[in-house]
Amino acid sequence: MQIKEFVAKVKSKEIDILDYTSKVLQELEKTNNEYHYLSNISKELALYLAKKVSKDPSGKLAGVPISVKDCICIKGLETSACSTILKGYKPVFTATVVNKLIKEGAIIVGKTIQDEFGFGSFCTNIGNGFSTPLNPFDKERCCGGSSGGSAGITKKSKNLHISIAESTGGSIACPASFCGIVGFTPTYGLLSRNGLIDYGSSLDKIGPMAKNINDCQTIFEIIKGQDIKDPTSKFKILDTNKPKTFAIIKEAFEVDSGIKEIILKKLSNLGFETKEISLPYVKKYAIPAYYIISMAEASTNLAKFCGLRYGLQMDLKEKYNEYFSKVRSQGFSKEAKRRILIGTFARMAGYRDAYYLKALKVRQKIINEYKKAFKKNEILISPSMPILPPKFTEIEKLAPIDTYQMDQLTVGPNLAGLPHISINAGFKEELPIGMMLIGDHFNDNSIFTALGEYGEN
């Protein structure tokens, strides 16, 4: 059942929302025991919101169960971005996007597991006390990262389920692909980041995950918009024209031949007439440019976590700097330390021009290359991921740089802040394959129109 049909049934009392919410919570608990998608289930909040909706079901999302990635703040609910350094932190305010959902009658059912602060492609890099989410199609495989819990629960839940995720370099498209659902990443700035625990401030984008495209669009329409609390957020009236020109990105299809065939077949079934374009600059430089910028920004964003005021706090035996170093050494995982060190290096006097500023200039050239492609093509198409969801035993063998290479198809649009959607294109070896549609800045609705008009719902 999709949101619109569900909400109509809640409004007509065909669905008793108190009863339904209780059943949803029971199902979540059962699924979570087996698959580990949620860092906590917000039973008390969900039942409180359900009571409110039962009295006033007028909202556009009356009764819709929604989970939220752990890096997005909800007042009173533990929010740690799955990092040990923030364990126990309960925000005293709620993120703008979550407030918008609650205002429309959504039922917040819990927080979802992610890679610590978003640092990962497989949702295996999580802090102490959290369990690794298992792929809904094969428990020996990962959900993808970093929004792995969001994608897993969206797929596995038998009830209507929406999850609010976040992408910095591909953290929505990757897990959406690996779990066989729809994940939408809007144009940078279209949604408020107020209440999001930052990873890379010039890259972070909140976006919805759903079982179908219509529901993704419904949620996007509600949570988008400028917010005085986020000075990088924008107000834009979005174009809804039906796209007529589609192009596949040549370099992005240099992947496993099975993945390529399934996506080309899907495009043919959709009736898309495509031509081929080349984006060599994106292929060659997007990964190093993305990682330098994201690590530089992460190293500054994570500087505030020092064992005072909230999160992990320890005995005050040492002096100032020694205390901060002690807490940070215990609270951050190895991957967080790796990214902080490289980010610090890239910003350090003597290296800043060669690394950080160079990467920012390369980002501009990458944006220019996309803009040139959009002059003749409205939608660009690529696989979401170059591989099938890997097994945990395979992930263990990967060096950090090998893991970073897995983001080769998603970092381009993320670095350029372009809207993109990952939808399921089919299956290989009974595992899902995602296809990504990328639009120009602020052409978010054109992506939905393209898929809707072509009957993909």
């Binding site: 126990g88 932190y89 309960k90 005293v92 305010f93 940078y188 700035g189 010039s202 890259l203 005085i228 000075p231 990088t232 924008k234 060659k284 430089y285 190093p288 440019a289 990682y291 330098i292 020092c306 005072l308 005021r309 909230y310 999160g311 706090q313 005050l316 040492e318 002096k319 100032y320 205390y323 901060f324 170093s325 940070r328 050494s329 951050f332 190895k334 330390k337 790796r338 902080i340 060190l341 610090t344 290096f345 350090m348 060669a354 690394y355 500023l357 160079k358 990467a359 920012l360 200039k361 980002r363 501009q364 050239k365 060096a399 950090p400 740089i401 970073y404 670095l415 372009l418 800045h441």
Partner: protein
């Protein structure tokens, strides 16, 4: 550019992170492999290109200078286990 243990120690000190000998040994080849991979950016021609600090044009947004209700002292201290007499308690500075 070689990222040796001496440089890693300096970075860790700047970033306020203590590294064990084991971590230091593991990080050295890992960071070098990553930075080696990043070196490809040297080949990118970027003359007369301005750095893109954001992917879209961002304009300064100023809010009206109106006093608004802020967090209470109680709310502000809610997540702090280190506190005394209504203040955050921190480590010795000197």
């Amino acid at each position: 550019m070689e990222c040796n243990q001496s440089l890693i120690k300096k970075l860790a000190k700047n970033a306020r992170i203590n590294l064990s000998e084991k971590e230091l040994k593991e990080l050295e080849p890992e960071l070098n492999a990553i930075l080696e991979n990043f070196k490809i950016l040297d080949k990118a021609e970027t003359k007369r290109i301005e750095p893109a600090f954001h992917p879209i044009e961002i304009q300064n947004t100023m809010r009206d200078d109106i006093i608004e209700k802020s967090l209470s002292q109680e709310q502000t201290l809610k997540n702090a286990s280190l506190k005394k007499d209504g203040y955050f308690k921190g480590p010795k500075v000197v």
